[in-house]
C-alpha cells in the first residue's frame, strides 16, 4: 500500500452565505476500504465530495486526497482519481465509445481494451450517441468511464441512481473487486443503504451538515439494537446503559431502539435483536446522533 490513508479530511467546513452546508467534518478513507457516505437530502454529502476533490474551496479545515491537498491537486494526482459526479457528465454529440475513448486518453493507465470491456459489461451500445441514452444508461457510462481509467481512488456520488438491479449488482461486484488488493479505496455517497451494507467497510453518516457517525458497518450494527423489555423499565437506568434513540411503550412490553448497548450493561432484557443499516440510518437521522 502506497498511501495508507487515501482520503483525509479534518474539520472541513463549507458555508453558502449563512447556510452551513458542511460543519467541521473529519473523515478518513484508508486504502483497501469502501466508505459509504450517507445522509438525508441536503445533509452535505455532495458538497463534501466536491470539497475533497478541490472543486469548491472550504471555509475551514483541510483535506487531502492521495496525500495531496485538495486545493492543489496536480494533474499527476488527478490521473489517479476516478470521479462519478452527481450529475452525468457526457457530451451529447459524442458516441458512447467516443466518449469513453476521449475520457480515457487523458489517463495514462487507460487501455482501449479495458474501456471496451467495461462498455460491454455495462451493456452500453458503443455506436449510439450519448444524447440518445436514457438517464440510467448515461449513469452507467459515467461509472464505466471512472472505472476504466484504473484509478487508485474512486469517488462516487450516487453512482447507482437510475440503475436496474442487474446493473447495481454489477457495480457492487466491480467495487468489491476494485479494493480487493488493498491498495485502492472507494468513497461512495448513496441513498441505497442496502448497497452500502453489502460492500462498505465503514460508514459516515451526515445529518444537517454534521457528521454524526463514523464507524465500521459491523461495529455500527453491533452497536445499534432493539431492546424489548417486559413492562416498562426505568428510563434512567436504560439511559445509563445506552443511548436511547426511540422509546415505544406497548401493552405488555417496551421496545427501545438503542445505540451503544452492551450485553454486560446489566439490563434485564426480554429480547434483543439487531437492525439493518437502513433501520439504523432512519433512527439516527430521526432521533439524533450516537454517543
Amino acid at each position: 500500500m502506497n498511501d495508507p490513508t487515501m482520503i483525509a479530511a479534518q474539520d472541513l467546513t463549507c458555508r453558502f452565505g449563512t447556510t452551513v452546508a458542511v460543519d467541521r467534518l473529519s473523515l478518513e478513507v484508508p486504502a483497501g476500504s469502501i466508505v459509504g457516505l450517507l445522509g438525508s437530502n441536503g445533509a452535505g454529502k455532495t458538497t463534501t465530495l466536491r470539497m475533497l476533490l478541490g472543486l469548491i474551496p472550504p471555509d475551514g479545515g483541510t483535506s487531502t486526497i492521495l496525500g495531496c491537498p485538495s486545493s492543489r491537486l496536480t494533474p499527476a494526482v488527478k490521473e489517479r482519481i476516478g470521479y462519478v459526479p452527481e450529475e452525468d457528465v457526457v457530451y451529447g454529440w459524442k458516441t458512447v465509445a467516443g466518449m469513453m475513448s476521449f475520457h480515457g486518453q487523458f489517463f495514462p493507465r487507460y487501455t482501449g481494451e479495458q474501456g471496451v470491456a467495461l462498455l460491454k459489461r455495462f451493456d452500453l451500445p458503443p455506436d449510439t450517441l450519448v444524447s440518445r441514452l436514457s438517464k440510467g444508461m448515461r449513469r452507467r457510462l459515467s461509472v464505466a468511464m471512472a472505472l476504466a481509467v484504473q484509478p487508485d481512488v474512486l469517488v462516487l456520488d450516487e453512482p447507482a441512481e437510475g440503475f436496474d438491479p442487474a446493473a447495481r449488482r454489477l457495480l457492487l461486484e466491480l467495487l468489491a473487486a476494485f479494493v480487493r488488493d488493498g491498495s485502492r479505496a472507494v468513497l461512495l455517497s448513496t441513498h441505497i443503504l442496502g448497497d452500502v451494507e453489502r460492500v462498505a467497510d465503514r460508514v459516515a453518516i451526515l445529518k444537517k451538515a454534521r457528521l454524526v457517525v463514523s464507524d465500521s458497518v459491523d461495529a455500527l450494527k453491533d452497536s445499534c439494537k432493539v431492546l424489548v423489555f417486559n413492562g416498562v423499565p426505568d428510563r434512567e437506568t436504560v439511559a445509563r446503559a445506552c443511548t436511547i434513540l426511540k422509546w415505544t411503550e406497548q401493552a405488555d412490553c417496551t421496545e427501545v431502539v438503542a445505540s451503544g448497548y452492551r450485553e454486560d450493561a446489566g439490563l434485564v432484557v426480554r429480547e434483543v435483536y439487531g437492525m439493518n443499516l437502513e433501520d439504523i440510518f432512519i433512527h439516527l437521522i430521526q432521533n439524533g446522533g450516537v454517543s
Binding site: C14, L55, E79, V89, Y91, F102, F106
Partner: protein, 247 residues
C-alpha cells in the same frame, strides 16, 4: 511535454466542439433576430436586447456546472484548459469575422464576402446582417477598432473576464470583478461617447456617418452586450460561484 501537447490538442477539439456550436447557434439566433428587428423597425431595440441576452446565455456559461466539474477533474492543468478555450475563441473570431472582412475590404485573394454581398438580391440577409455580426465591414473600408465592435469582441471580453474572475482566489474575485466592470463601463462609454448631436464617438463617428440607416441596430450591440455580460458575470462570480461551478 508531448503528453501536455496531446492534452492541449484534445481540450482544443473539445472546446471547438462545445464553443464552436454555441457560437454558431448564437450567431444564427442573433442574425435572425436582427433581421426580424430591421423589418419590424420600431421593435428593433427590444429584439436586439433579447437576442443579445440569448446569445450571451449561450456564450458565457460555455461550461455548465456538470461540465465544469467533469473537466476540473480531468488531469489537465488550468493553463492547458484555458489556452485551449481561448485558442478556439480566437480561431472562431478570426475565421468567422476578421478574415472574411479583411479579404473583402482589401481586395486580397478571394473576395468572397464582397461578392456575396454584392451579388445577392438587395437587402438579402447576408448583406444586411454582416455588418452587425462583424461590425467590421462598412462602406468606407475597415478599421481595427471595429474588430472589437462585434459580438465576437464581446464574447472574448466576457470569456476572458469569466475565466479570470472565476479562477482567482476568493477575495481576488472582487478585485478582478471591479477591474472588468470598470473596463466594461469604459467600453460602453467609448461606444456611446459620440451619441447626441456631434456623433463623434467610435460608433457614431463611423457607423452613423457611413451607414446611417443601420446605426441604431449596430449601436446597441456593445452597450447591451457589456451590460448583460457583466450581470451574468456578477451572478457567476459572487458567492453564488460556489454553487454554480468551478473553473
Amino acid at each position: 511535454m508531448s503528453r501536455t501537447l496531446l492534452n492541449l490538442w484534445r481540450m482544443f477539439l473539445l472546446e471547438f466542439q462545445k464553443v464552436g456550436w454555441d457560437i454558431l447557434g448564437a450567431t444564427y439566433v442573433v442574425s435572425g433576430m436582427v433581421l426580424l428587428g430591421i423589418h419590424l423597425d420600431h421593435m428593433t431595440s427590444w429584439l436586439i436586447i433579447l437576442s443579445t441576452w440569448i446569445a450571451l446565455r449561450l456564450y458565457l456559461p460555455f461550461r455548465t456546472r456538470q461540465r465544469a466539474e467533469y473537466e476540473a477533474c480531468l488531469p489537465v492543468s488550468w493553463m492547458c484548459m484555458t489556452s485551449a478555450r481561448f485558442c478556439v475563441l480566437a480561431a472562431a473570431w478570426v475565421a468567422l469575422l476578421v478574415l472574411p472582412a479583411w479579404l473583402d475590404d482589401h481586395s486580397r485573394g478571394v473576395r468572397m464576402v464582397g461578392w456575396l454581398a454584392r451579388h445577392l438580391p438587395e437587402g438579402n440577409a447576408f448583406a444586411v446582417i454582416y455588418p452587425y455580426l462583424g461590425g467590421i465591414r462598412y462602406a468606407g473600408g475597415w478599421s481595427p477598432w471595429l474588430w472589437l465592435n462585434s459580438q465576437s469582441g464581446v464574447l472574448l471580453f466576457t470569456s476572458l473576464a469569466a475565466a479570470v474572475v472565476l479562477h482567482v482566489p476568493r477575495w481576488w474575485k472582487a478585485v478582478a470583478l471591479v477591474v472588468f466592470i470598470a473596463a466594461g463601463c469604459a467600453l460602453v462609454w467609448v461606444c456611446w461617447s459620440g451619441y447626441g448631436d456631434n456623433r463623434t464617438g467610435l460608433y457614431h463617428g463611423v457607423l452613423w456617418h457611413e451607414v446611417p440607416s443601420l446605426w441604431l441596430v449596430a449601436a446597441w450591440f456593445w452597450p447591451v452586450n457589456i451590460v448583460c455580460a457583466l450581470v451574468l458575470l456578477l451572478v457567476k462570480a459572487t458567492p453564488f460561484t460556489k454553487r454554480r461551478g468551478v473553473l
